[in-house]
Amino acid sequence: MKRDLISVEDLSPAQIREFIDLAGRIEALPAAGRCRLLEGRLLGVLFYEPSTRTRLSFEAAMLRLGGRTIGFSEVAGTSVAKGESLADTIRTVEQYCDAIVIRHPREGAARLAAEVSRLPVINAGDGANQHPTQTLLDLYTLQHLFGRIDGLRIALVGDLKYSRTVHSLVHALARFAGVEFLFVSPESLRLPEYVRDAAERPVAARETTSLDEAVRTCDVVYMTRIQRERFPDPLEYEKVKDSYRLDRAALANAPAHLRVMHPLPRVTEIAPDVDATPHAAYFAQVGYGLAMRQAILSLLLGGLP
């Protein structure tokens, strides 16, 4: 049976663990061994909307494992722009390659692609719904930074209402024992109740509007971007935007082991002067993302170390 990666909600804790362990094993391989894992394999990279970071990460992961990629990074000029259905595009592309990565603005597109295709399908983001490889790389980053995920105290900061990164991460982290959350957001961007309700276990969490409490008491501060267009009242945005901005001074009271994560790209929510502190983990996170995507490709394509 082929295996797809469409939604973190499909993954059991054991399967999440499998991806994390495999990423670790692949990172530990000598480069000479790693670059043979997917030799001769071809990945179809279908991006129905641009997302340069995610696409580069998948392409780098495939190339580094010895495979190759084909695909498109936007629909302009493709048969899709001429009105071809998603199902037809998938049935065409699957004639060429061994697995498909899809990014699509419509929610559920990756699930539909996986149903249509006999190949493994990886969801690289479907509208506001899921981006499971981001969630897995976040988990892998935590594992790497702390040697564990159980029992961590994690602050999620910023736009908790609309951020799918945050929603998926809460859902996934709630499966680990003893994880505690601190939800830090402006009043109008609080985490929706249904996200907590959907978690498998009761979520140990507190809500606050204070970034300072997060910095002083948590192991991880996970920052997200607050978008101006999320505020019905621009004045309200002006009032809150600076309270969710992390700079070196704001980290003065942080414990030494505190790590700051961010799904990137950042705009103003993390000041550049944080980059050189030992707390900054967001660029390392990109590197762990590469390892995680290598693990996903190697597991789904059957090129295990």
């Binding site: 939604s7 909600e9 259905s85 998603l86 199902a87 699509h104 603005p105 419509r106 929610e107 559920g108 597109a109 699930r111 539909l112 479907d126 509208g127 506001a128 719904n129 899921q130 249904y194 959907a198």
Partner: protein, 159 residues
Amino acid sequence: MSPAEKVLLIPKIENGFVIDHIPTGTGIRILNLVRQHRELDTVVITLGLHCTSRRLGRKDLIKIQAAELPRRFLQHLSLVSPGVTVKRVRDFRVAEKVVLEAPELIDDLLGCPNPNCITNHERGSGTCFHLVDRETRTFRCNYCERHFGQAELGTTLKF
């Protein structure tokens, strides 16, 4: 309940189905639901309003003289009106009866209320909703993964 009581107002049927124990006042709504299913366009249907019922005091009922009830119709009915009883009648006798519960799965019957769901944009794609909470009758779209209450879904019949 004796058969005599049931035929008080509407004729007994030889073969077909009785949708029974419809809460009084909602029979016409259910009849409208029946009429949305084209497969039942040519069968004889009778509606009974305010019939006496031992269980409910008063009830509505609908008799449908069809050989079979379409699966999609039953899913639709159980979604909109769980708790009604469907009885199969053979030779004037009740041969079988089931009380409808909220369906576990709604398969290609309803459109997804989420306008950005792929199923609203891809020609010919099916839809599928799973029951995630029986108590609150909440369903989850298999594609966009959004959750919807029964009331929200009940109005999006897909034909």
